[in-house]
Amino acid sequence: MSSMKAIKKRISSVNSTKKIMKAMNLVAASKLQKAKTRLDHIRPMFDNLTQVMDGIKRGLGPEDEIAFAQSREVKSIAYIILSGDRGLCGGFNTNVSKEALSFIESNSDKQEQIIAVGTKGWEYFKRRDKNIIHRVSGASEATSFADAEILGNQVAKMYASGEVDEVYIVYTHFETILAHVPHIVKLLPISTEASAEQDSNPIVMDYDPDAKSFIEHAVPMYLNITIYGAMIESAVCELASRMTSMDSATRNATEIIDDLTLEYNRKRQGMITQEITEIVTGANALN
């Protein structure tokens, strides 16, 4: 008798959990739509800017003394790590944090300075006693260009003052709803190495007012846009990840409920059978 009651209790508790997960799935799905439009809007700007930067890199000679392009002896590296603020989104937070951790550990001879965007990433590196210099939360829920600008200015300043010698950003790249790949991108210094598929005759480009001021203007913009783009990619991945994991959780819950219901019915039937047997034996005894 008590076990039947327990099963009933479990069914109702799984049922209410299922309802929550179903709701989270729907919320994530509708937010994902919005976030994806933003991603579609930022990507052309990002691609164009990357092209401009590629052009700059190719046209840049060693005689141009551009602060942002000079590589120096690396003693300290800043990492911007983008994760989510909340869990229940599958492996999203762990994947990006793990990727970042293994990268940081491969550079363990250098001092690390972590800028953790997202509470989950912050917790992850806090537990591992990493040097976190800055923490941003709330950015994955409502990504704004201003947030990216603040971060961009901060790392540019840190780089210019010599506080850090390299800046990397670790984020999750959105490929499809099911495929999210953690990416590590070097932000500073902008590499001036000629890319593999270099044109045989590079385009002669004029600059207004001159190359140096153009680059000094374009690089901070590139930083901000890259960080903003990465933030949006991350946000989209988080939502997609939450949507799919909540969807499978809902399905698992349905399965559990089915199993439990079957068990409950079996027990109930068993009890009825037992009662009938008792009555019949009782009646037989009287005869």
Binding site: P44, N48, V52, V204, M205, Y207, D208, P209, F214, M221
Partner: protein, 153 residues
């Protein structure tokens, strides 16, 4: 693409504002206005706050559109003008009443005693509102000019 056309792309972090073939572009750079015709030599320029003028001809009459652009960079290459702006607005996206009130607020604040950072911020906002006012008053202005021309005739 017609021979006397070039591609103009205006992108901001929020969206792609424009992507089409146009006849002529006048853009405000930090060194002054730059007029761009098709087949311009490759050039990269820093943009100032200012009005982007897009001139076109639909075969009968000249059409001019204007857009407020708030800083960024422009690059011309292979007959494509790419404008990457920090922010850009079409006149119809500007809430002129709000902009006017902002401008008045800035003018009042200019008389107050503020620290350097605030003054700098106010100046940027002020320049922004001035560009917004200029852009959104354009269709009106051209209409007045047009009417005046009719009266003079």
């Amino acid at each position: 693409m017609a021979a006397n056309k070039m591609r103009l792309r205006v992108a901001t972090p929020e969206s792609v504002k424009l992507d089409e073939d146009v006849g002529m572009v006048i853009v405000r750079c930090i060194t002054g206005d730059m007029g761009i015709l098709p087949n311009h030599a490759p050039i990269s320029a820093i943009l100032d706050f200012g009005v982007l003028r897009i001139l076109d001809n639909d075969g009968e009459e000249d059409i001019e559109r204007r857009m407020a652009v708030f800083g960024g960079i422009a690059q011309i290459k292979d007959n494509v003008v790419t404008i990457l702006a920090n922010d850009a607005q079409w006149p119809e996206d500007i809430d002129i009443a709000f902009v006017q009130s902002e401008r008045e607020r800035m003018e009042r604040r200019a008389k107050e005693d503020l620290d350097a950072l605030e003054i700098q911020r106010d100046q940027i906002l002020m320049r922004r509102t001035l560009v917004q006012i200029e852009v959104s008053s354009y269709p009106l202005l051209s209409k007045i000019e047009h009417d005046e021309a009719n009266i003079n005739q």
